[in-house]
């Protein structure tokens, strides 16, 4: 870009952006037949019935829109539009109404129908269990042998399809695990259910008195409840995380050799292609700048908090954000070889290096299954030896298996985790699966990234009150023409009405330098001191990068200092973590000085500047020395470390890859989410342990009774339901303990000064 005609370039840039947006929408939509295309938008601020009506009626009225439908639960809007025209201005219309919307990939999302499958199985199991139980109750109340046999037959007719349909979820998983020479929870479940079912069929054929159809199907029903809740919890977190704004671009506007412009998806960009990048776009692939100058925000990629100036010849990494000027760039690598891909490779390496975590229920199953199976075999042998009656011995051995079938393990653990996930959800923390909760409870060290995690990565004006009001106002008027973070911070910091600007002839932005405004013959400059001031050389006090000055015809008018804003609750969060006995560290890719200042204010050790690979290595070495680490980070450069850590958290503003790699994503701005999550995880661990103790205690009582041969189907049904109810009731206590803890913890937290630590700029 030439400095002489910036305003023309600006107009171009805006046109390009509009066009790129249309192309992006086309790329994100999919064909639904009958000449219609469907676009899904995520609109996080939908919250009531009024929003539904307003959005639907406005979008329906747009030309080309066939139908718009709001989903209030998932906060999404589905729009069908006629494919013959250009995409309707959906996002623009929504933003005019005050709803921020972003494109949502429904296609990539539609593949998971596990929950639907589980709910269907649950419905079938519920139907079968209730009907078989009705028949069983009449048998237990003393039906005549002929009636009993008839009822057994009816039960069998209901149970056969039900066990096949509902049980395959467990049988499949058990078979998979056995084939790999392991056991999981599903192995004892499958063995118990299948043996009980087989015995019952045999009894029915031989007109025996006892059949366990009700036990086998009720067991499946209870276990399916646990499993369905578990999946629903994960699905909910997944949808919530997926609905966040997508930070990686879908494609880029390519300038072809013949001068034509075409929007290509990311996967089709080849090295050597010329790409037009407008201000406010993320760099799609690793590239070199051909033409133009801009300020580049690298915070997501390297953790550097301060924008870098880049001009022709500079190399840019994929994922950085061009702030101020339009750029013409040439791709140096395809998307699959870019920085992002490098991170993904590192994540895979970190993943394979990490010891696989076995969930509590599976670990319990590993101890539990052999004990139960040995007990059953010993019972069988003992009864054969004592009475010589093989049939009776087999019946009793199977009764042992049924009575000890791990209902409590299969239901109690997911139940606690579902309740915990719900508590976290209410606090704006998305838990992606139950195993993560168990791992989170074990952590001893918390490692924070700096930029974007401890700080928000956005500048804030300091000492606004000491700036001369006239100069401040003028600066705000000039700054309102720019999207640079400093300009926006300046506008945001100004309170009260702005006097209407004196007739400004033109305002132009010089990327890397600042803004220039002409008012008649006078030239005002707002930007880098060495550029804005006539002397060229900056004086001592204004030489920092976090500083810009306002000048009039080269004469100094005012100084503006910026600092990186801290996330709220940082001090409180670090204090709370320390109180819980956790060590805290800061690991950042930013410059040493900036990190040191923040870390020493928090009183925690720090490591910087650290490359992405070193971050992952650092975490891995801590893990190797036996310290369990919780990594909290947001950038692309944190992604390998997030995977390497025992547990990981990311803020909602994190890079897409980081958000997907993290176990938990917190939506709130406050860092207090981290200690909150740790507390919930620890409470959940306590309840899981209690539940396991209850389950073991129940077995300790029930097993001798079963071994001695006193268990009838009636006793089995009562004991099983009772133990399930007890563990579920215990799981529900998690809500109460949270409230208690909050009341205890609230008052001291509030009394802490909510001071905001100011981080100075660099150099």
């Amino acid at each position: 870009m030439t400095c002489c005609a910036p305003s023309v370039e600006f107009a171009d840039a805006r046109f390009d952006r509009h066009r790129a947006r249309n192309d992006e929408m086309l790329l994100a939509s999919h064909d639904v037949g009958e000449g219609l295309r469907q676009t899904d938008l995520s609109v996080p601020t939908i919250h009531c019935g009024g929003c539904i009506q307003k959005i639907e009626s406005t979008l329906d009225a747009l030309p080309g829109v066939e139908q718009a439908r709001v989903n209030l639960s998932t906060k999404r809007v589905t729009i069908r539009w006629r494919a013959d025209g250009a995409p309707p201005p959906l996002i623009e219309s929504l933003s005019r109404m005050g709803y921020e919307a972003h494109l949502y990939d429904a296609v990539a999302d539609s593949k998971d129908d596990t929950v639907a499958k589980l709910v269907r199985a649950l419905a079938v199991a519920g139907f079968a269990a209730s009907n078989i139980m009705l028949l069983s109750v009449s048998i237990w109340s003393g039906a005549e042998p002929a009636t009993r046999d008839l009822f057994h037959w009816i039960s069998a007719v209901i149970a056969v399809p039900a066990v096949v349909y509902c049980g395959r979820i467990f049988f499949g998983s058990a078979w998979q695990s056995l084939r790999h020479g392991q056991t999981n929870m599903d192995v004892p479940i499958s063995i118990g259910v299948l043996l009980a079912f087989g015995l019952s069929l045999y009894e029915t054929f031989n007109r025996g008195p006892h059949a366990y159809f009700d036990a086998s199907i009720t067991l499946l029903f209870f276990l399916l409840i646990g499993r369905t809740l578990d999946h629903m919890m994960r699905e909910r977190a997944r949808v919530a995380v997926k609905g966040l704004a997508r930070l990686a671009p879908r494609g880029a506007l390519i300038l072809q050799p013949d001068g034509a412009q075409i929007y290509l998806p990311l996967s089709e960009i080849r090295p050597g292609m010329t790409i037009l990048l407008t201000a406010g776009d993320r760099v799609p692939v690793d590239c070199r700048i051909l033409k133009g100058q801009s300020d580049i925000d690298c915070s997501l990629v390297s953790g550097e908090s301060i924008p870098q100036t880049a001009g022709a010849g500079s190399l840019l990494q994929a994922g950085t954000l061009s702030l101020t000027g339009p750029l013409t760039i040439v791709a140096t690598a395809a998307a699959k070889d870019s920085f992002l891909a490098e991170m993904i490779q590192m994540m895979e390496a970190a993943e394979s290096g990490r010891s696989t975590y076995r969930r509590i229920a599976d670990r319990a199953a590993r101890l539990y299954a052999p004990v139960v199976h040995v007990a059953a075999v010993v019972t069988f042998i003992g009864w054969v030896a004592a009475t010589g009656d093989v049939h009776r011995a087999l019946t009793i051995a199977i009764a042992v298996l049924i009575i000890t079938c791990p209902c409590a393990l299969g239901l109690a653990v997911p139940m606690v985790q579902v309740v915990a996930a719900r508590r976290l959800f209410e606090q704006g923390i998305m838990l992606k699966d139950g195993g993560a909760l168990e791992r989170l409870a074990e952590v001893e060290t918390v490692v924070f990234d700096k930029t974007g995690t401890l700080t928000l990565g956005e500048p804030r004006l300091v000492d606004a009150s000491t700036i001369a009001p006239d100069a401040f106002e003028l600066a705000v008027v000039i700054a309102s023409h720019s999207q640079h973070p400093y300009s926006r911070a300046l506008v945001a910091a100004h309170q009260g009405p702005v006097r209407s600007p004196t007739s400004m002839t033109s305002v132009s932005e010089y990327p890397g330098s600042g803004l220039e405004a002409r008012i008649g013959p006078t030239v005002h400059r707002l930007g880098r001191p060495e550029w804005a001031l006539a002397g060229g050389e900056a004086s001592h006090s204004v030489s920092e990068m976090g500083t810009i000055v306002l000048s009039k015809n080269g004469q100094y008018l005012a100084t503006f200092q910026f600092v990186d804003r801290l996330r709220s609750g940082v001090h409180e969060a670090v204090a709370a973590l320390a109180k819980d006995g956790l060590a805290v560290e800061v690991l950042s890719g930013d410059r040493e000085e900036a990190v040191r200042r923040l870390a020493s204010a928090l009183g925690v050790p720090h490591y910087s500047p650290v490359s992405p690979a070193d971050k992952a290595t650092h975490i891995a070495s801590m893990e190797a020395s036996g310290r369990k680490v919780l990594m909290v980070g947001d950038g692309l450069n944190d992604a390998p470390a997030l995977v390497a850590a025992h547990a990981s958290m990311a803020p909602a503003s994190a890079a897409d890859v980081g958000r997907n790699a993290a176990d938990l994503v917190f939506l709130s701005e406050s860092l207090l989410s981290v200690p909150q999550a740790v507390t919930v995880a620890r409470n959940a661990r306590r309840l899981v342990r209690e539940n396991l103790i209850i389950a073991v205690g129940y077995n300790a009582i029930a097993m001798p009774v079963a071994i001695l041969g006193y268990v009838t189907p009636l006793i089995a049904a009562v004991a099983m339901s009772l133990s399930s109810l007890i563990v579920v009731a215990n799981a529900l206590r998690l809500g109460d303990s949270r409230r208690r803890n909050q009341h205890k913890g609230d008052s001291p937290k509030r009394s802490l000064p909510s001071s905001r630590f100011a981080l100075e700029g660099r150099k």
Binding site: H30, V32, G33, Q38, C48, G49, I52, Q53, S57, Q67, R69, V70, N71, L72, S73, T74, T78, R80, D105, A106, V107, A108, D109, S110, K111, A116, V119, R120, A123, V124, F127, S130, N131, L134, L135, T147, L150, I154, I158, R234, R238, K336, L340, A341, I344, M347, E348, E351, T356, Y357, K432, D433, G435, A436, V643, D656, V657, N660, A661, D663
Partner: protein
């Protein structure tokens, strides 16, 4: 005793009808938006749900999706 011969089939048939109704409601997307349904009952306008379309070949991008979940 003979009452069973028609009472039990009736009971089972009623249960099966309930099960079928639930499975149908699940399939027709009535549980897709429970919060929205609560709000829409108050609206006067016509209300036509969008029929869900199955996508034949989803093509998830690399790096999307939960890596950990897949590996576990």
């Amino acid at each position: 005793m003979t009452d069973f011969f028609y009472l039990i089939p009736i009971a089972l048939a009623l249960g099966a009808v309930g099960l079928a109704a639930f499975l149908w409601s699940l399939k027709s997307g009535q549980y897709e938006d429970l919060d929205g349904a609560a709000a829409r009952i108050l609206s006067n306008e016509d209300d036509n749900p969008i029929v869900k379309v199955r996508q034949p070949n989803p093509a998830p991008e690399k790096g999307e999706g939960f890596g950990k979940e897949l590996k576990q």
